[in-house]
Every structure is written in structure tokens, then in C-alpha cells.
């Protein structure tokens, strides 16, 4: 019986793409002239493992290409060649080509053979131009088997990963002492010491001594700052490199000292199990230290075993994160689960309502059971939602490369700052926010940041900064793209808007309203279009995309100081935070994200403007009143404005007052499609099922505002 290798293809592709991402990240961090050896090792390992995997699966073009790449990297690794700017560019291009090749093979489509062979030729050329100062056949510290000049064959690959050069010093029974003192802002940078300690514990036997002396009294503690420090002892067959890798992301955010101490540790105050999988054991209050050491040999064996093809294709650098007891599950399965749980939530709410109407001794028991059911349902839903959550770093990770390339092309000096990368949001939202963000970042690089000369002349540092930030705010996620560039010229926006009759010649606009103008279709402030931002797509498309996700986008800008785009998104598309409002016998849900505030109107604040209907004054503006019952042809309970309430809502940068009978309550609702069985309804974004089983429509505030302004114009 032969093994069907195709079943491993998907895993290979996925892991290779991930590995290429980490290779790209490492390349971008590589300093010309003084490259970090560990980075080069990471890069080498990626090329090496992709070569191994592709040879195993018979993707000979990829294997051949990665062989050339690997040869060059091996020269770098052994110090025979130096990293130069052209080389770093060549390596980045190789990442692109490899991605394209993998994609083509994955889709079973032909490769761009010309592009591949051109680049492979460049790689070979660079290897051939190796400076002669090194001996022709320099013995690398440890010549890995891959250095063999033979073209890649099936035989070369899977064996090699197991004996990387840096692994040799990892004699059994090493003992390391690690002093680890995070800076106060350690947490704020998205780091968690616990994660690092866990990774260390996976490498060998770890003993932890905490230094809590700097921990202030509870009242004085800023919980966002890190006040703890650790002295760690790690023993086992561990080399220095993997330890360093654990702290790779914390570089510059902590004091770190790693040194080797002799022998095995004698007294271990707090033994830590070697594997995350041993968590179960840890739940037993008293774990025998003997048990703690048992898990360890198993791990040190792992690298020796001839790994399965897939395992071999996995870059070592990411082993720790991939091995942390995770499995890959198809998104459809999770969506199915989400739907079922959504149904469950509704059924549970219906039961609850039913239960509250019953009487008698058994009814009390029933209610207790229902309360339990409600808790369980809620927890289940939250857990399922959390499964769909991914950190935004999946989107952010593409920007370092993009900004570097763009800056180079435009002759600008730009530093990209990424913060809040660990902020999690729904996978669907994550996938759809990528393109708008790319557009905003490109816009910042192209139109925002000035050339170094201009910046210096304006008294700014030559290096411009583009900052991407994400954080949770209320039930939403806020993603910001800001730059310290030239900002937008208010007068120019106004002039342009007037020239295009977007506003009247004498309209007085607030700053906010002026900024909103750039989101109108066809409005672009660039004097000349460049090949970076292009011309077809504008800010209106960005806003449309954000709106489709149920979010909103705002701009703050100051001439000469920079611009800040703030995107607010729901955490998930399946659920919306809403305010229920009553109009006649109907209940509608107004998304909280659209609501500014709710208020009762005084007669004095309402007036009629000819051609614009009823308006009321709100924070110095006159906002039109939209009577929902008129819009929907419903008989209301409140006819006069004083009887009901006004919900001040905004959409498309405009505010209106929605006149309703009453506010009912705030709640999260599961969004159901109206379009599945019916069709799109203007001013309605979907429907939900209330606790009594009836249906309530969810209002699309921007749609209502548009419809109303059309009617007003007609």
C-alpha cells in the first residue's frame, strides 16, 4: 500500500505560506552590514524546509529554486558572504516568487517559468560573485547536508532539518540561567511574559523565581505596566538559540541576560512540566517532581526521529507556536457551529419568556433550569465566537514589506509602527478589512508623508512615521492609521467641494463635516495621481467597504501635523449591539454604533425649514427629523414630537433625528438575513428574532439617511 501524499498538500502549502511570512519578516529586520545571525538562520530554515517539502511532494521547480536560494543563504550563514542591499532585495523578490510558485502549484496552474528562471539566474550569479577572500570550499562551521551541490532530489530533503548547524552545541544536560526583567511598558507592547515562560518550559525543565520587590501596593499599581522580574533556570538538551528565539519579539522591551551554568540543578523550587500538554497534570494540586521530569526526554527525542514529510516541511522557528496543542479546522465547520448556536440562543430566549409566564412549584424549578441553560448557552456562544477570533497581526504583517517597498520607490524615509497587533477580531471582518487598510496605508505613504527634504525644511525629522494601531473599544474594535505627514488642507477640500457642487457656495461646515467630504465618491485631494495610490479607487470605496462591515470611518487631520483615520468595526458580523425602539406595534433595532444619543425634544428647539422639513437644534447644528412611522407607513402611538423620543443617529457623516415612540432596551442581537428569502430592503440591514419569537428589523441608518435626503431633494 502506498501512502497518498496529496492529503498532506494542504498542510504543506499552509505551513509554507506561513513560513514565507516569517522569512519576509526576518528579511525586513535584517540590518545591512551587521546582520543578526539568528535572523539568517531563520531565513535559511524556511528556504530549507520548503525545499524539503516540495522535493518530497515532487514539486521539482520549487525544490530547484529553493536549492539555489538555500545555497546563497548558506554562504551568508557561514559568513562567506555579506548581506548587501541588492542581496536583501533579491531575497525579498525570492519570497514573492516562492509565494507565486506555491500558489500556482496549489491551484494546479502553470508557473511563470520565465520569472522563476530569471530570478534563479540572479541568485546563482550572486553566489558565483562571492568574494574570493574566503577559501573556495570554505568549511562552514557545520556543513549541513544541504550544502551538497547536487540538484534537489527526493532524497535530499526530509532528513536535513533535524541537524541544523546551531543544534550541535546542544549537548544533553545543559543548564542555563536567564535573568529576565521586562520594562514597564512590556504589556503595552503586546508582550506577555507568561507566554515566553511557557515557551521556555517547553524547551526543557524550567524553574522559576519571581522578583516581586518592585511590585507596588495595589492602590499605586498601574495594572497596565509590568512590575515583575524573573530569574529562570532552564535545564535539558537546550541550545542557546531556541532560548533567544523565545525572547525574539521582546527585544528592546526588557533586560535580558542568558548565560550557561554548569551541571544539573539540585533543588528545584517550582518544577514546571515540559509540555503544554501536561496542563491536565498541573490541575492536580500536588504534582510529584518525578512526574515533571518524565515528560522531558520525550521532547528531546522529537528532533531525532525521522519526521514525517509534513513535519519536515515545518520551519523550526515556528515550531513552538504551531505545536502548542492546536488543530486546524475548516471555517465552514465553525460557521455551521455558529449558526447552530445562534438558533440555540433564540430557542433559549423563547423558553425563558415562556417560563416567566408559568406559575406553581414546578415552574420555579423550571426557571432555575432555564437560568442555567441561559448561562451555558451564553458561554457556549462566547466560546464559539472566540474560536473565530484571530489577532489582527494577520493583516498588519503585510505592511512592513509594503511600506518599505513604497518608501523606496518614492524616495521617502518612513518608519512603520505597529501596535495592538494581538487585538482579536472575527475572521470574516479580518479578511475584509485588509484592502481598506492597504489603501489607507498607501495613501499615508504616498500623500501623507513628505519627502525628507520637505520634512527637514518644515522642521520635522527626516523619517516620517506611519502608525497602525488596533484596540478594543466598548464592544467594537478601533483600527487607526495615522501619519505625521502634511495633513489635509481644509481650504483646498472646501474649494474642491464647491467647484464640484458638492456643497453650496455659502455653506458653513464644521471641521468634521469638511473631513467627511473626502469620503464622497470621486473626491481625491492629490494634485497628481501616482502609480502608488493610483486613481481609480478613492476614499469612497474605503468607506463603502467599512460600512459593509457595519463599521464607520472618521478622519482627523491637521495641516502640517498629519492625518489620522479611525475605523470602528464590530467584533463580529454575526451579532450587533442594538437599541430596540418601538414605533406603533413594531419593534426596530438601531445599531448602537450609529447612535449619538437619545433625547426628548422641547417645542422650542424644533422648527420647520422650507424645503428641508422639520429640523431641531442639536449641539449647534440643525438636524433633520425623520419620522420612522412615516417612512414605514405605520400608525404610531406618538404623533407629536413631544410625545415620543428622538434618537440622534449618524451615518455617512451626517446626523439626523429618528423620531420613535419609545426606547425599549439595549441588547445584542443575532443578525439574520432578509435577503435569503426575500430581498434587500432600503434602510434595513437585516432582521433578528426577539425573545418572544417575533421578528424585528435592524435599521441601516446610513441607508435611511440617504433615502430621506433623496426624498427631500425630490
Amino acid at each position: 500500500m502506498t501512502i497518498d501524499l496529496t492529503q498532506f498538500h494542504d498542510a504543506f502549502f499552509e505551513e509554507s505560506f506561513e513560513a514565507l511570512d516569517s522569512m519576509e519578516a526576518a528579511l525586513l529586520k535584517l540590518d545591512i552590514g551587521a546582520p543578526d545571525k539568528e535572523l539568517i538562520n531563520t531565513i535559511f530554515r524556511v528556504a530549507h524546509s520548503i525545499k524539503g517539502g516540495s522535493a518530497t511532494f515532487g514539486f521539482s521547480e520549487i525544490a530547484s529554486f529553493t536549492h539555489s536560494l538555500e545555497t546563497l543563504l548558506d554562504e551568508l550563514r557561514s559568513g562567506n558572504m555579506q548581506v548587501t542591499l541588492p542581496m536583501s532585495d533579491l531575497l525579498l523578490k525570492s519570497v514573492d516568487v516562492l509565494r507565486a510558485m506555491l500558489r500556482a502549484v496549489q491551484a494546479k496552474q502553470p508557473l511563470d517559468a520565465q520569472r522563476v528562471s530569471d530570478l534563479q539566474f540572479d541568485l546563482e550569479l550572486m553566489i558565483a560573485q562571492k568574494p574570493a577572500l574566503a577559501p573556495a570550499f570554505a568549511p562552514a562551521p557545520v556543513p549541513a547536508p544541504v550544502a551538497a551541490p547536487a540538484p534537489a532530489t527526493e532524497a535530499v530533503a526530509p532528513v536535513a532539518v533535524t541537524a541544523p548547524a546551531d543544534g550541535v552545541e546542544a549537548a544533553a544536560g545543559n543548564r542555563w540561567q536567564i535573568r529576565f526583567r521586562p520594562f514597564r511598558e512590556f504589556f503595552a507592547r503586546g508582550n506577555d511574559p507568561m507566554r515566553m515562560l511557557r515557551e521556555l518550559a517547553e524547551l526543557g525543565e524550567l524553574s522559576v523565581t519571581v522578583d516581586a520587590d518592585s511590585l507596588p501596593q495595589l492602590a499605586q499599581l498601574n495594572p497596565q505596566e509590568c512590575h515583575l522580574a524573573w530569574v529562570l533556570e532552564l535545564s535539558g538538551a537546550v541550545a542557546e538559540e531556541p532560548i533567544k528565539q523565545v525572547f525574539e519579539w521582546a527585544e528592546g522591551d526588557c533586560e535580558l541576560e542568558i548565560r550557561q551554568v554548569g551541571g544539573r540543578p539540585a533543588g528545584v523550587p517550582e518544577a514546571i512540566l515540559a509540555d503544554a500538554a501536561a496542563d491536565a497534570l498541573l490541575s492536580v494540586p500536588a504534582v510529584e517532581p518525578a512526574a515533571a521530569t518524565v515528560a522531558e526526554p520525550a521532547r528531546s527525542e522529537a528532533p531525532v526521529a525521522p519526521a514525517a514529510p509534513v513535519a519536515a516541511a515545518k520551519p523550526e522557528a515556528s515550531v513552538s507556536s504551531l505545536d502548542s496543542g492546536s488543530i486546524r479546522v475548516s471555517v465552514e465547520k465553525i460557521d455551521e457551529l455558529m449558526n447552530t448556536v445562534g438558533e440555540l440562543v433564540i430557542t433559549q430566549a423563547m423558553l425563558n419568556q415562556l417560563g416567566s409566564t408559568l406559575d406553581g412549584p414546578t415552574a420555579e424549578k423550571l426557571r432555575a433550569g432555564l437560568a442555567q441553560l441561559e448561562r451555558n448557552t451564553r458561554e457556549l456562544q462566547e466560546s464559539v465566537m472566540r474560536v473565530r477570533m484571530l489577532p489582527i497581526t494577520f493583516v498588519f504583517s503585510r505592511f512592513p514589506r509594503m511600506v518599505r517597498d513604497l518608501a523606496q520607490r518614492l524616495g521617502k524615509q518612513i518608519e512603520l509602527k505597529l501596535t495592538g497587533e494581538q487585538t482579536e477580531l472575527d475572521k470574516t471582518v479580518l479578511e475584509k478589512i485588509g484592502d481598506p487598510l492597504v489603501h489607507l496605508v498607501r495613501n499615508s505613504v504616498d500623500h501623507g508623508i513628505e519627502t525628507p527634504e520637505t520634512r527637514i525644511a518644515a522642521g520635522k525629522p527626516a523619517f516620517g512615521t506611519v502608525h497602525l494601531d488596533a484596540c478594543h473599544r466598548g464592544g467594537n474594535i478601533a483600527v487607526e492609521v495615522s501619519d505625521d505627514g502634511q495633513g489635509l488642507d481644509k481650504d483646498r477640500i472646501l474649494a474642491k467641494a464647491r467647484a464640484r457642487n458638492l456643497i453650496g457656495p455659502n455653506d458653513q461646515l464644521t471641521d468634521e463635516q469638511i473631513h467627511d467630504l473626502i469620503f464622497l465618491p470621486g473626491f481625491s485631494t492629490a494634485e497628481k495621481t501616482t502609480d502608488v495610490s493610483g486613481r481609480g479607487v478613492g476614499m469612497d470605496v474605503v468607506r463603502r467597504n467599512v460600512k459593509e462591515l457595519g463599521g464607520k470611518i472618521e478622519l482627523r487631520t491637521e495641516r502640517g501635523k498629519g492625518s489620522r483615520f479611525i475605523i470602528t468595526l464590530p467584533l463580529t458580523l454575526a451579532i450587533v449591539d442594538g437599541q430596540s425602539v418601538a414605533v406603533g406595534t413594531e419593534t426596530y433595532i438601531v445599531p448602537l454604533i450609529s447612535i449619538v444619543e437619545s433625547m426628548q425634544l422641547k417645542t422650542s428647539s424644533v422648527s420647520r425649514l422650507s424645503g428641508r422639513g422639520e429640523v431641531f437644534s442639536f449641539r449647534g447644528d440643525y438636524l433633520p427629523i425623520i419620522r420612522l412611522h412615516e417612512l414605514y407607513g405605520i400608525e404610531p402611538r406618538a404623533h407629536s414630537l413631544q410625545e415620543g423620543l428622538i434618537v440622534v443617529a449618524e451615518g455617512d457623516g451626517r446626523r439626523v433625528g429618528l423620531f420613535v415612540d419609545d426606547l425599549l432596551g439595549q441588547q445584542q442581537v443575532v443578525i439574520k438575513s432578509l435577503e435569503a428569502n426575500y430581498g434587500h430592503v432600503e434602510g434595513v440591514s437585516g432582521a433578528t428574532i426577539l425573545g418572544d419569537g417575533s421578528v424585528a428589523l435592524i435599521l441601516d441608518v446610513p441607508g435611511i439617511i440617504r433615502a430621506a435626503s433623496l426624498r427631500a431633494a425630490a
Binding site: 458638492l502 432578509l674 430581498g679 430592503v681 432600503e682 428589523l697
Partner: protein, 179 residues
């Protein structure tokens, strides 16, 4: 049309025999293909949909999906009846270019499930405007009555097309003023 020539009481699943759910609307009896019927349920209050045609009463929650409800009396321009506890909604599935969709139709009452022999179906008489009879598949005698067989795809499919048009014409033009 070989084996079933004997008559309409034939019960075997003959190739030309189909099961039809019949229901009453005013003085008429109508029939729909039983395979299209998802469920039959009692009347409950619906949620109105803005800008919907007048015979689309609104939407209902049907085991977690949102299903539009059509009043066939209004669709057929019959006199409007009160909705009472015995008013019935037949939920049917319709195939449309956009895929399968579920619709509820409000009728006066459900009568029976009958076998209809294809050979007995007579074409609908051409009465003036073609569109008025488009959704009638034919007429068939059952017991002493004439049952009007409905082509549910055409009946409801045309509804959805007009709804789609609605949505498109409502697509907004760019905002006119920021003030």
C-alpha cells in the same frame, strides 16, 4: 399515460400521478405540488417590511430563518379576509434564479392531499391578459370541484423579481450636501 388510464383513484406512484395539496381561497380551490410544501402552520402576527408590495404582509420567524408571508387573497385581488386562529400559512419553497427560497402563503384553509393524474389536467383557458394566468399550470377536476393548479415558481418568482427591482431603484445616488 399507460397504466393510470383507469381513473383518478389510482394510488400507486405512477409516473403521471402527482400528489397535490389543495386549499381554499374564497370560492375557489387551488392546488400546489406537495413536494414544494415545507410545512403548514397557523397564523401569527407578522413583522411588516417597509416598501413591500401590499400583498407581502411581512416576515415571520420560521425555525430561525426569516420568511416572507404573501396573502394570496390580495395577490388574486379577492376580497380581504380577517386573519383568525384558523387562518393557515402554507410554507412553500420556490426555486428562483437566486436559489431556493422559502415563502409563506396565507390561505383560508387547507382541504386535502389528492393524487392528480397528469392526463386529466386541462390547460387554463386563455382569458385576456396572458400575465394573469401565467402562474396557472392547469385545471383538474377533483370530486365535484375544479382545482386550479398553481405554478408556485411563476407565482412567487415574479414577486421576487419585482422586489429585486425595488431594491435596485432605491440604490442611492451620491450624497448631495454635507450640511
Amino acid at each position: 399515460m399507460s397504466s393510470n388510464a383507469a381513473g383518478k383513484t389510482e394510488h400507486g406512484p405512477g409516473a403521471e400521478s402527482r400528489q397535490v395539496l389543495t386549499f381554499v381561497l374564497g370560492n375557489e380551490t387551488y392546488g400546489v405540488d406537495i413536494l414544494r410544501v415545507q410545512e403548514i402552520r397557523g397564523w401569527s402576527a407578522v413583522t411588516k417590511i417597509p416598501h413591500a408590495p401590499s400583498h407581502v404582509l411581512g416576515v415571520l420567524n420560521l425555525r430561525g430563518s426569516i420568511v416572507p408571508i404573501v396573502d394570496l387573497r390580495m395577490r388574486f385581488a379577492l376580497e380581504r379576509a380577517e386573519y383568525t386562529a384558523i387562518t393557515v400559512i402554507i410554507v412553500v419553497s420556490v426555486s428562483s434564479p437566486a436559489g431556493r427560497r422559502d415563502f409563506g402563503v396565507v390561505v383560508d384553509g387547507v382541504s386535502d392531499v389528492v393524487d392528480v393524474n397528469a392526463a386529466e389536467v386541462k390547460p387554463a383557458p386563455e382569458l385576456g391578459q396572458r400575465s394573469a394566468t401565467d402562474f396557472i399550470r392547469g385545471l383538474v377536476p377533483v370530486s365535484d370541484r375544479m382545482v386550479v393548479l398553481l405554478d408556485i415558481d411563476k407565482l412567487i418568482g415574479s414577486e421576487m423579481r419585482s422586489m429585486g427591482d425595488n431594491a435596485e431603484t432605491a440604490e442611492p445616488a451620491p450624497a448631495a450636501s454635507a450640511a
